[in-house]
Symmetry: C2
Subunit: 247 residues, 2 copies
Amino acid sequence: MPVTDEAIEKIKTMIVSGELGPGDRLPKEADLAERLGLSRSSLREAVKALSLIRVLDVRQGDGTYVTSLAPDLLLDALGFVVDFHRDDTVLDFLEVRRILEPAATAMAALAMPEAEIVALGGVLAELGEEPTVEALVANDLDFHRRIAAGSGNPVLCSLIESLSGPTARARIWRGLTQEGAVRRTREQHQAIYEAIASRQPEVARSWATVHIAGVEEWLRTMLGSAEGALTSAEVNGSGKRSAQDRP
Amino acid sequence: MPVTDEAIEKIKTMIVSGELGPGDRLPKEADLAERLGLSRSSLREAVKALSLIRVLDVRQGDGTYVTSLAPDLLLDALGFVVDFHRDDTVLDFLEVRRILEPAATAMAALAMPEAEIVALGGVLAELGEEPTVEALVANDLDFHRRIAAGSGNPVLCSLIESLSGPTARARIWRGLTQEGAVRRTREQHQAIYEAIASRQPEVARSWATVHIAGVEEWLRTMLGSAEGALTSAEVNGSGKRSAQDRP
DNA sequence: TCGTGACGAAAGGTCGGATGTCCTGTGAGG
DNA sequence: CCTCACAGGACATCCGACCTTTCGTCACGA
């Protein structure tokens, strides 16, 4: 095994074993390199890799730290991975969403705090009559994100968010708007919201299923008929590397 | 943005845009470094990071290649991330499994080929009367893995497999402590198998839910009473880095 | 003709040091 | 007491050299 991979494993072990806890600072590069028995260059490769998946947080001029290791932070790296998938696997991802989102929606109907439900309604209301595509996508993302968060399970929330990556959603929406299905989507959003607000988990679950199944079905026929009409990489360079937490 | 991160984005773009397809070979480090406008060292950090999440496959003496980008390969990296989570989030993961596995089981009851069902029964049969804990866990993992694969959705399958990691050690502990857990688990496995074999998706779904909810409930009470009894890093060094595919 | 083994080019693996850039604590000065 | 410039520490980047592995080539022998 290359020394770099070995270093990755050792650092991982240091964290999992509890020797390094969330927020702890690692020894400086030179010291850690000596301790692990490799050069700084190789160590930096290991650190970079662990940094990509949000396990380590390097701050120039300061030091290298272990992140909070919160589920949302680590699962966030999943979004990076999802971006790589081509259109022929989008349906598989959507199918998983059709499993997860209804479940999350039902959970939200039971667990979501009143204040959050009010805010959820506000999201629907703040969308005008003739929204731009960008506003529509942002609004849709916000709506589903709040519901996922309302499930009370951070793992489930992050998973859903990662799977409905901005790329895929933007692509889908682009097509949906052209089909003029905006109205139906808004009606379904409204129905989901009302089911949650009235604390009816099964109704909420069903509407969520209907909602996603609709997108799924549309995409299925779309991929079947207009082969190649949907190209990848229409929306890139998002570079959403934000919510690093620094204790 | 650091040049290394920039390089990661550029390589990602090259892949997502189709300039580099699965199996394609990247220019050699020196050339690619020059093309992207950075040093070989920095480029190597980027490559190492992309290699960790299975996007690139570096082969010494040969070259660097884009992997197949298959969902199972990329989601496999999720397992690495999941390993970092502490026990206080295990319940969240288990809850997600309680959503995904029943759905996968129901799908398997409809889609699993006869030959695979026979093999599934074989897995149950090959476990002796007095299995070791290790054999039990391995058998359990195999059983659930086959069902997940039987769903016909590779994304769902990989996701379940990745999420099963942290709960594995919990199951080990359970097998060691709880009386009758082994017998009950085997009965439930048998019931799940029979439901699949007789093509009854709803029965299969219910048994799977019961099965996982049982583990969940046990773990919940266990974490409540014996706080801190479950230490992390009981099972480490797995380092399952195997199924690299080289076209 | 075919198999085999040695050779060498090519590519990644590792290393250590030099220099640039950024953050932070600290102490002089107002 | 507050402000700001300075010095130290730590990461960022680059460079160039050398090692290791892989694979294609080619000559040799069966």
